[in-house]
């Protein structure tokens, strides 16, 4: 995300003691002018004691996109102060500070790691930290997985298809909220559609249900086994599964899908009037 660090400072100032704000600014100057790794680490640590974890922020940020994202992720002033520090040093001398910042991330505790993952996208050269983001997909701690996957633009911007698919499948596997992804339609791909179908068959074989939102990425790839899957969804006793099949077939170009949909004029009408969409599925 492209923004100037002064916007972070603006919100820090409206929510902290002026003494702590000047401390932070002085430290940033010192760390950058002296290229002091030790002071970077100590400052990063001490922010934890000088800035509050409270996430009700006073004042406004004159940058709509940044403001919306900090609000969405419920950023605390402590988290914002840490982002400010890291952004400042990385902008000043990326070659020197890149590895130092990577080291801070490597030593994070659980809640610090959540912070990094949620706000990686705000750091300059965010792609440098992709290893950490992909590693978070392998975690067994739900809050860590959600930090990188839910309402986070990072995966859509930087993950390759294999990484994206790994994230989507794991989210389904651990029964995370599948509506929380950014760019779910844009990142859909044929391989993911096949994975979804295979996993659905596994769940059905085990007599287990499937989150209806799981089907969303198959829309543009309905062929072969997925046609039978759509038929099964249309014939399901679960009305959400019927609706899911209708939305997928309506948006798909597959002729077999369109033909199946013809049997459900009520859905067709709702779809044409845009009353039945992914966003209104559970309304």
């Amino acid at each position: 995300m492209d923004f100037k660090k002064k916007y972070l400072l603006q919100i820090i100032k409206s929510n902290s003691d002026s003494e702590n704000v000047s401390w932070l600014e002085t430290k940033v100057d010192f760390i950058t002018s002296k290229l002091s790794t030790k002071d970077l680490y100590i400052t990063y640590s001490l922010i934890g004691t000088k800035f509050k974890k409270n996430n009700t922020l006073n004042g406004k940020i004159d940058h709509a996109e940044l403001s919306a994202y900090l609000g969405l992720q419920k950023a605390s002033i402590q988290e914002i102060a840490r982002i400010f520090l890291l952004k400042s040093v990385l902008e000043f001398n990326p070659d020197f500070f890149k590895d130092k910042v990577a080291n801070i991330i490597q030593l994070a505790d659980t809640s610090e790691l959540e912070t990094f993952l949620k706000f990686l996208v705000l750091l300059p050269n965010a792609e440098d930290y992709k290893f950490v983001a992909v590693e978070a997909l392998r975690t067994n701690i739900a809050t860590i997985f959600d930090a990188i996957s839910a309402h986070n633009p990072y995966p859509a911007l930087y993950f390759n298809a294999q990484q994206w698919n790994q994230m989507f499948l794991k989210a389904a596997f651990i029964e995370s909220d599948l509506t929380a992804f950014n760019a779910i339609d844009e990142r859909a791909n044929k391989d993911l559609a096949r994975i979804i179908s295979d996993y659905a068959h596994e769940r059905w074989a085990a007599g287990r249900t499937i989150d209806p939102y799981f089907w969303r990425p198959v829309t543009n790839f309905i062929e072969g086994a997925l046609i039978d899957d759509m038929r099964r969804l249309f014939e399901s006793n679960d009305v959400f599964e019927n609706k899911v099949a209708a939305i997928c077939c309506f948006n798909s170009t597959n002729k077999m899908g369109k033909k199946m949909l013809e049997k459900y004029p009520v859905f067709i009408q709702q779809l044409e009037e845009k009353k039945l969409t992914w966003n209104s599925l559970k309304d």
């Binding site: 680490y41 100590i42 640590s45 001490l46 934890g48 004691t49 801070i104 490597q106 030593l107 994070a108 505790d109 659980t110 809640s111 610090e112 790691l113 975690t139 067994n140 701690i141 739900a142 997985f145 596997f173 651990i174």
Partner: protein
């Protein structure tokens, strides 16, 4: 659960324990634990081994504990045994400041003397200076051999480095050391070992003789023969032996809380106001649950 006593075990190495232990501990009333960083039996040869161990104490292990309704804190430090590998010790010391402000770190520990070598002395003192600079509580491991002299020396060095005795917990006491520790104003912790050393009958007599002020009971359970239920079992024995309930609460809960909550990381609200256990919050593919039904406690932990 309202009438059940609550316990804190302020010294237990859960990294070496099983989920059965966590279940039994929660069942016995243990609400919070402190896991000191220590020697893992196999000496470490790389600084990265320390880093991953410390990261586990501030990452995975607190998460694992939370799945059983137990709040996990830790103390971070270079233990005395491994202080003798000086090249490695230097690197570990350099890394410590990055861990000491993590959200579940309540003290620097367990540090102190093992064989009372010059290297142990050097790194013990360096960490005491760090504690002084960062205003942190210290958890001191006292030696198994030449115990009394080592304990006295530990306290003298703490005072020499300007630490307040009420901010230092001297651990692994026995009848021979307790008086020296209490007289100097330090906090005396006792490790209850199941078969040897300090058994819980002896502990009852210590409390009878010295009272409950500044006395803490812990299990120090680790990878050796040890009992993760030592604190609640000793509390039970104290009650049955006629020790006042207030003294039991102080030695098995309150004193540990007071001693380790000074930097504000440890809060009673962490276990008094919880959502109860909800293992469904965690992943079941490769985690503490392996195909079992998740346990969701119907009763909040109060």
């Amino acid at each position: 659960m309202k009438d059940k006593m609550m316990f804190i075990d302020p010294h237990i190495h859960m990294t070496s324990r099983t989920t059965d232990d966590y279940e039994a501990m929660a069942e016995a009333g243990i609400v919070a634990i402190i896991e000191p960083s220590f020697w893992l039996g196999q000496p470490r040869t790389q600084v990265g081994s320390f880093q991953d161990y410390f990261s586990s104490l501030v990452g995975w292990e607190p998460f694992r504990a939370s799945q059983f309704g137990i709040k996990h804190y830790c103390t971070i430090g270079l233990n005395s045994k491994e202080a003798n590998n000086e090249a490695l010790a230097e690197q570990v010391i350099e890394m410590l400041p990055l861990y000491l402000h993590k959200e579940n770190v309540v003290a620097i520990g367990e540090i102190g003397y093992d064989d009372q070598t010059p290297a142990e002395d050097k790194y013990f003192r360096m960490q005491l200076d760090l504690a002084k600079e960062l205003d942190m509580t210290v958890q001191v491991h006292t030696p198994h051999r030449d115990k009394k002299a080592g304990t006295i020396k530990s306290m003298e060095v703490c005072l020499e480095h300007g630490l307040a005795p009420e901010n230092v917990i001297i651990d692994h006491n026995n009848e021979e050391t307790v008086k020296e520790v209490l007289d100097r104003g330090f906090i005396a912790a006792f490790t209850i070992y199941p078969k040897t050393k300090m058994g819980n009958e002896r502990m009852v007599e210590v409390v009878r003789k010295y009272g409950s002020t500044n006395i803490i009971i812990d299990s120090s359970a680790d990878w050796g023969v040890s009992d993760p239920l030592a604190v609640p079992k000793t509390a039970g024995l104290m009650l049955r032996s006629g020790i006042d309930k207030d003294d039991v609460i102080k030695t098995c809960y309150k004193n540990a809380f007071d001693a380790f909550s000074k930097n504000g990381k440890m809060k009673e609200s962490h276990w008094l106001q919880t959502d109860g256990i909800n293992q469904s919050k965690l992943f079941n593919d490769n985690s503490v649950l392996r195909g079992q039904n998740p346990k969701i406690s119907s009763d909040k932990i109060v």
